[in-house]
């Protein structure tokens, strides 16, 4: 997956990401937002294990990866570059 960059807006406890190149929006609900934020922190992989049931976390990671919001980074994850608006 090529590195994408997103613009982002936080609305209440949700985040909307805009992929400006493709004009596509991605809605992260409160749960997905927590997973996504954990991916962007040091020790994120450890933190992911504490956030909820492993299967649910895994499904959310897959969805985020498909959306281009995160990518594999060694044994963990990293977030695509984000510009907060």
């Amino acid at each position: 997956m090529p590195d994408r960059s997103f613009a982002a807006i936080a609305l209440d406890d949700e985040v909307v990401l805009l992929d400006p190149e493709h004009g596509r929006l991605v809605l992260l609900d409160a749960w997905a937002r927590r997973i996504w934020q954990a991916c962007g922190t040091d020790g994120g992989s450890d933190r992911l294990r504490t956030l909820g049931p492993r299967r649910r976390v895994s499904e959310t990671l897959d969805a985020l990866r498909e959306a281009g919001a995160i990518r594999r980074c060694g044994s963990g994850w990293s977030c695509a570059p984000v510009r907060w608006l």
Partner: protein
């Protein structure tokens, strides 16, 4: 002799020059005449309707932009759609979304829905209950001010719209086009009004419900709808601007077979000062 007429329609800061046979050109001018554009400076539009009323051309600043076939008896509706679409493409600061809008209790409500969703009939019902008209099809938003700007074109009342609405609000018929009547409500907003609520209209089962929708969900709904998001050069403007307006707005989904029949529900929500609890009513 059916000599072409040329009419310059001054719509605030926007000029539309209409040229064509007297059987249609003055009617288009009349339908456009109630629109006022402020806070933007769109390039002038020239609409030229062929003598046989079967085609029309649109040019902006002398550059041809579109040509369109005019169906017999429905040319006015098509031309109005072209003019509105042209306006949306010329906006540089204001945002648009395909939606109706009214003022209730001094605050603007934007009703978002696709064609046939019941926007016009819902707007009619709300106007009959004391709301003030902002727009029928084209909601203009000022993202810097967080307001809805009046776009007071006449409502296009089709037979089924009239049936769903029950009766029309006070106003006058500006023109007609086949079975559609262009109806200009009497009570119209004179200036921008703070955007208070966005309602996504959707068809649903037996029980009509007005339920809260997240602001992020509404942003996605707007993006999936004809809006400033449709223009590639405005996607980021739309993202930032709608996001900014939504930050202070309430958002709902109205699930109903006939949104017009839920006007009382919307009026009740409009009178509420805080966020709505889920409102329900019996099957309609």
């Amino acid at each position: 002799m059916n000599a072409a007429q040329t009419i310059d329609v001054l719509l605030g800061t926007w000029i539309v020059r209409v040229s064509g046979p007297p059987s249609i050109a003055p009617h288009l001018a009349a339908v456009l005449g109630s629109l006022r554009i402020e806070g933007e400076d769109p390039a002038p539009l020239e609409v030229t309707i062929a003598a046989d009323e079967r085609t029309a051309l649109g040019a902006v600043a002398g550059r041809p932009l579109w040509s369109v076939s005019l169906p017999a008896g429905r040319g006015l509706s098509v031309l109005l759609g072209q003019v509105v679409a042209t306006l949306t493409s010329l906006l540089e600061r204001l945002l648009f979304v395909h939606a109706g809008a009214v003022v209730m209790e001094g605050r603007a409500w934007v009703l978002l829905g696709g064609s046939g969703a019941g926007k016009t009939s819902a707007v009619c019902s709300l106007l009959r209950r004391g709301a003030v008209y902002l727009s029928d099809e084209l909601a203009l938003l000022d993202p810097d001010e967080g307001t809805v700007v009046p776009a007071t074109l006449p409502m296009a009342i089709k037979p089924w719209t009239a049936w769903a609405a029950g009766s029309l609000p006070r106003g006058r018929e500006v023109a007609c086009d086949g079975s559609a009547r262009f109806w200009l409500p009497m009570e119209r907003a004179a200036g921008p009004v703070r955007a208070h609520a966005f309602v996504r209209l959707g068809r649903a089962g037996r029980a009509a419900r007005l339920v809260p929708l997240s602001r992020a969900g509404m942003l996605l709904a707007i993006a999936g709808h004809p809006s400033s998001f449709c223009y590639r050069h405005r996607v980021e403007d739309a993202f930032v601007g709608f996001g900014r307006v939504l930050r202070t707005a309430q958002c709902f989904a109205l699930e109903a077979r006939n949104p017009a029949a839920c006007a009382d529900m919307l009026v009740s929500a409009g009178r509420a000062t805080d966020g709505p609890a889920t409102l329900r009513r019996r099957a309609l």
